[in-house]
Amino acid sequence: MRLREDARSLIFTNLCSMLGTFFLGLGSVYIKSKEAPAKDILKDLVEMCRGIQHPVRGLFLRNYLCQISRDKLPDIGSEYGGDGDSINDAVEFVLQNFTEMNKLWVRMHHQGPIREKEKREKERSELRDLVGKNLHVLSQIDGVDLDMYRDTVLPRALEQVVNCKDDLAQHYLMDCIIQVFPDEYHLQTLETLLGACPQLQPNVDIKMVLSQLMDRLSNYAASSTEVLPEFLQVGAFAKLSNAIGKVIDSQPEMPVFGSITLYVSLLTFTLRVHPDRLDYVDQVLAACVKKLSCLPRIEDKKATKQIVALLSAPIEKYNDIDTALKLSNYPRVMDHLDNATNKVMAVVIIQSIMKNNTYISTSDKVDALFELIKGLIRDMEDTDDEELDEDDFKEEQNSVARLIHMLYNDDPEEMLKIIYAVRKHILLGGHKRLVFTVPPLVFSALKLVRRLHCQEGDVIGEDVPATPKKIFQLLHQTVEALSVVPSPELALRLYLQCAEAANDCDLEPVAYAFFTQAFVLYEEEVADSKAQVTAIHLIIGTLQRMNIFGVENRDTLTHKATGYSAKLLKKPDQCRAVYACSHLFWVDDQDGIKDGERVLLCLKRALRIANAAQQMANVTRGSSGPVTLFVEILNKYIYFFEKGNPQITSSAIQGLIELIMTEMQSDNSLSEPSMDAFFSSTLRYIQFQKQKGGVMGEKYEPVKV
């Protein structure tokens, strides 16, 4: 039945509009033909519409009236009028139409059965543009200048909006006023417009209305720098800020999310219009803190999202965390975030620093920054360890690690202070974080050491705080902190790095001490055989590059290193480590050590181990292993042979080649293509050197391949 009625009403509406078309069409002809004063005809038309009280029909009819009369309105400069009076008439006409239409529209709300209220509101909402159209038409009338708008249009429109006391109408029409009239007008009438807000119904979403207004004005400000003086002239910030305060105070039921949204809009506005006024920005944040501090810790997802938006805005605007660090209320807002969101925000901050390559250049700023991102730096109270995803944690800590490299100052004194500050913060971070944060700190400190060493000469004297020695002490303690994790392999690497840096600074005792630390760790903590292999090669490599050790220290260390090598668990590992040790006795520098005898000793020892490995393979597998180790040793022989080690003779090389060939031909040898290739290319190399002639060719002469 309902459907039928709808259909009937539809037909009636259409009939009405046909009738309307006829009369109004006639009306517009009259206006055009100038036979009757436009004003009178318009008045007649409005009167005629009074007869129709059915809201929907009335709305359509009046909308039509509004449309049809639009381009025929007596207007300044138009052929139908032109004097002030006729503009007033036109404005009066549309305002009246607006008032009547809004009344009809609001009346719809009160008609019909209660149970269909929702559906009716939906329908009503779809008709809203019919009412709003009047405002659009008003904005199009050229004669509506600022004075006319301020004195007549705006007050009259607002009066109707406030008096209709209808939620839907108030929200929609406020929005319409904001959208259809130009920004200049809004700026000049801010007080009037904002003054209406507290008078609206309590359920009207004022924050949306105000946000729209501020967003619009922000866009306007961004459109051209020429318009900025207008904002200053009217004191837009103070007025908006004031209005927002009033709205929030007058609506205690407004959800947190709502008030923060308002602050976000105000902040966006401030950043666009007054980018130079950090104090305004801080004021907005302060107002937000004030609101948040009356509330329990925010749990609401929507609200936290808004806080993140609030905090991200200044960073995005200034592209420079330095500026945000100057905002005293910034960390206070962050304190109101839950732990997870706090971390998200911290990551945003770090990303901004990385993206913009911002160096944080003083220890005070470092302190402030670490306070901001403390959610990543240390465990917060009441964090549930369970909820922590391993990968997320790694990701976070890696970003902290990257950040540490951005904490930098050219001045060594300040840099040292920064390093102290960072150390202080990361040591509070607990053992899970240290493995991520200690390495970048160590490298940052080592960079400083090298810098100091390079510019040595300018700054000498005992009272200079930033000396390499002092930094090495700090490094020592810092790496030591890893023992609580424990992470002996990482600590060992870092000690070796420090030793190398100490070497470059000519600090023999310091370098020796770091090696000792590394060796102690190796002996006492590194238990896994694979880790031992890696560690021993690191030790050998570093030790090989050291050039400050006196004979005694050097002997002690190389002795230890070769000892460790020979004690590795697997024979092949032993063999490789031992032949690597040969390099400890032959450093290819001008005044590097050249102890040919001990080189030979290492290589012979490696050969013995390779032999033993071969035999072991025979026993366990019934076949000898590949000849890999022998070929590798052969290559070492060739290296030292060419470097001029007198202990390495061509006959030794010859012997080794023959040994390998015999091994390869033996019945139970295991042939492996890559191995064969390695060996034959080694032989080819010898061949090549022979053919090349010269000194090297002569040297190789006795070797037969």
């Binding site: 709808d6 046909m18 109004l24 381009d71 008709l127 019919l130 159209k133």
Partner: protein, 216 residues
Amino acid sequence: MASRRRMLLKVIILGDSGVGKTSLMNQYVNKKFSNQYKATIGADFLTKEIQVEDRLFTLQMLILPFLQIWDTAGQERFQSLGVAFYRGADCCVLVYDVNVVKSFDNLNNWREEFLIQASPSDPENFPFVVLGNKIDVDGGNSRVVSEKKAKAWCASKGNIPYFETSAKEGINVEAAFECIAKNALKNEPEEEIYLPDTVDMAGSSRLQSSSSGCEC
């Protein structure tokens, strides 16, 4: 003249808020432009007398808002209103702002909206024209949608003609609407609407067709 009959070419202009639909129309019809932004509420239209291939036409341009009335049942009453706006469209112009990527991304939605509301008999071949507006802003430095990208999209939708315009500087506006009118003319109208010359009822033709549309 009074007895001459002119044919109506109806063009629907769609696009996100603020892309410059009203400004383009004003530039074309009145040769005027304003920096002031006054949003359009509801439908809006303008007409212009034009001459194509020695024939006179009334070009009626309608800017339509997004109608969100297709999601729920039982809205037939106002649906008819929407359909009425779209009925008899000869060409559809899709406008975006080359400086706002979202407005470009939304072109698809606007095209869909048109095809649903107007349901042309041959949707594959219905004439569209795309305008990338505001190319003047910041000397083109703030532009985010490249001409290439826009043209690729147009090509993928059946080679829609594409123009880069500035309503502010009047760049390409005339040319674009010329193309729009030609394409509208190509779309052989199913029923020609003749208007008496004396009564300027351009604005009323819309509701007229709305009532005629509901008689069936």
